[in-house]
Amino acid sequence: MQNDKATNEKINDDLLRPLRQTGWAWRVTVVVCAIFLLAAVAAFAYQLQRGIGVWGINRPVFWAFDITNFVFWIGISHAGTLISAILRVTGAEWRRPITRCAEAITVFALMIGGIFPIIHLGKPMLFYWLAPYPNERGLWPNFRSPLMWDFFAINAYFTGSLIYLYLPLIPDLALVRDKATGWRKTIYAKLSLGWRGTQRQWHALEKAVQVMAVIIIPVAVSVHTIVSWDFAMAIQPMWHSTMFGPYFVAGAIFSGIAALILAMAVIRKVFHLENYLQPIHFNNLGLLLLTLSLLWFYFTFAEYLTTWYGNEPHEKVVFQSKISGAFAPLFWTMVVCCFVIPMPILAIKKLRSISGTVIASLTVLVGMWLERFLIIVPTLSQPRLTFNWGSYRPTIFEITIAVGTVAYFILLYAVFTKLFPIIAVWEYKEGLTVSPLPHPHHDPAGATIATAE
């Protein structure tokens, strides 16, 4: 009994430490990110004042960095769903310390992804015209437009993800409430909705989390499918592809897991959570990343092979520009970043260490950003009537906004770790008491903690 209590206190102490103590790394991160964010806000303010022409877009390349970033961030948001919901539904015990890291990524990545369709408008202040409400124009929005489907899908996913992040947070908010004093106690008391940890409350919570986990999986799949349909519903060469839906969903989960591995590695170092986020977690996520790297390669190969074999002239032009033309350096960098580098790292057990998976994740993120860019720009710059071919070069404004949103993500995440336990305390503790059948010694995280104590 004494030992149990000590373990309990140790876990509380470790996992709530980021809320009590603020280190220099955290402060530096926040200040640097805030500066980049301000730069992006300034760039956007200038764009509002002068017009969207300050970007590098033109005719025929009407979309470029804006939609690349949009698809990239919505893709990152798929980290939370897969890891948390699927692993919860399937009862994978090793998920316990990483669920909240993942769920928070989803919410923040969606917030950032959602910025781009708004700021890329010719008239950003009128974005709300996409919402169906009785208005002076006497018009409903056009429900046939994939952009409308985006609007609803992303809103639904954001709402669902927010609930799915919040529900499992309630017992931890109560834990923080019990330990906090002053105005913090008041706020956490309000946020924890009167949680007392009764049998009935636990039962209701578990039920709700289970239901949300099941609901959020098809919603997530639909979101990136619909994002892919922005392109697939159009008739432009190499956009009009039937497999874009699954291709994009796989790519989204791919980049999402990469983002999760990076976030976990940073959290582990900065908050000294080495006992909680262990090599086994990076190993398991690394295996998932490997699976998706192979899946990505399969999809890409199938997509490009059929285009090449089909030999349709307009498609072939776009294809050739990627394989051996103006976009070839970017294309082959993408292949190297998404497959050639990460695949061996993740496939060889020795290399699938924490630093190995971090390197693989970094290249995957670069590669997946390039993938989205290479879907958008080559097609648009080479329309069917060759007289109208164009090119694209980003301006400092687009680059600043892109970098600023990365900083914004890190900033939001850093602030989140200050306010809420980034590892679900109750879920972790629960894992120590649950013996996963049929192998009672199969929970490595729990086992290590027990011996460490």
């Binding site: 017009g51 969207i52 390349v61 008239k123 432009q236 009537l385």
Partner: protein, 235 residues
């Protein structure tokens, strides 16, 4: 996605005889003047941001000295099955019952999806507010709205002239006939390469010419059903 509804209204269409086109671009100038199309300046033009409701596409065939130049005036094809229409989330572009692909500037929020889904690349975007060097603003056509920054624009088949022609026919208590409506490009073409009229009226010139063995439509295999008919060059 089908946009067409049965109607007894005129169905406006254009015929362009490529045998007669010399590529002089008088139509482009006439269009700019008629429709208050802004000039963006050399710097913006170099970035590919010109605004053109009609352009002359030049294609070169063969190797020097055996070279042949082909000209093709291209404007909005006013497709019956226009790919730009279903993708607009705010109905800024839609199909009228007279077969026109209309653009409502003050509905447009500037997603630019329509332009990305136009296989003919005929849509132009207002990336900035335009400056009209004095006294050019005095040449504005009062019948046509001047577009603001952030909206898409394209050929309207001179809808202001269509409306005027239809009003005249109505005043005279008759159906529209050839000659009632002449868009600026058609009016200006020095070689009379362009024809405009109601293709639903079998006696109209465009209806007759559209049955020519030389008649083709641009990228017809996409199923967009364009309302601009090109008469191919003979030998």
């Amino acid at each position: 996605m089908s946009e067409t509804t049965p109607t007894n209204k005129p169905q406006w269409a254009m015929v362009i005889d490529l045998d007669r086109c010399t590529g002089c671009e008088a139509c482009v100038v006439a269009c700019n003047v008629e429709n208050n199309v802004a000039t963006v300046g050399a710097e913006e033009a170099a970035k590919g941001r010109t605004i053109n409701w009609i352009r002359i596409e030049r294609y070169f065939e063969g190797e020097y000295p055996d070279v042949r130049v082909k000209f093709r005036p291209v404007m909005c094809q006013h497709c019956e099955e226009a790919p730009c229409e279903p993708v607009c989330p705010v109905y800024a572009t839609y199909h009228t019952d007279e077969g026109l692909n209309a653009q409502v500037y003050n509905r447009c929020v500037g997603t630019r999806y329509c332009a990305n889904n136009c296989p003919y690349t005929v849509r132009s975007f207002n990336f900035f507010d335009h400056v009209w060097d004095a006294p050019l603003q005095k040449a504005w056509n009062p019948e046509v709205s001047v577009r603001s920054r952030g909206v898409m624009e394209k050929c309207t088949f001179c809808v202001q002239r269509i409306k005027a022609g239809e009003a005249k026919a109505k005043d005279e208590n008759r159906d529209v006939k050839d000659g009632d409506v002449t868009p600026a490009c058609v009016q200006t073409c020095p070689t009379k390469a362009m024809y405009f009229g109601n293709i639903a009226d079998p006696t109209s010139e465009v209806a007759k010419l559209s049955k020519s063995s030389r008649a083709t439509k641009l990228l017809e295999d996409l199923g967009t059903k364009p309302k601009v008919i090109y008469l191919n060059e003979g030998e």
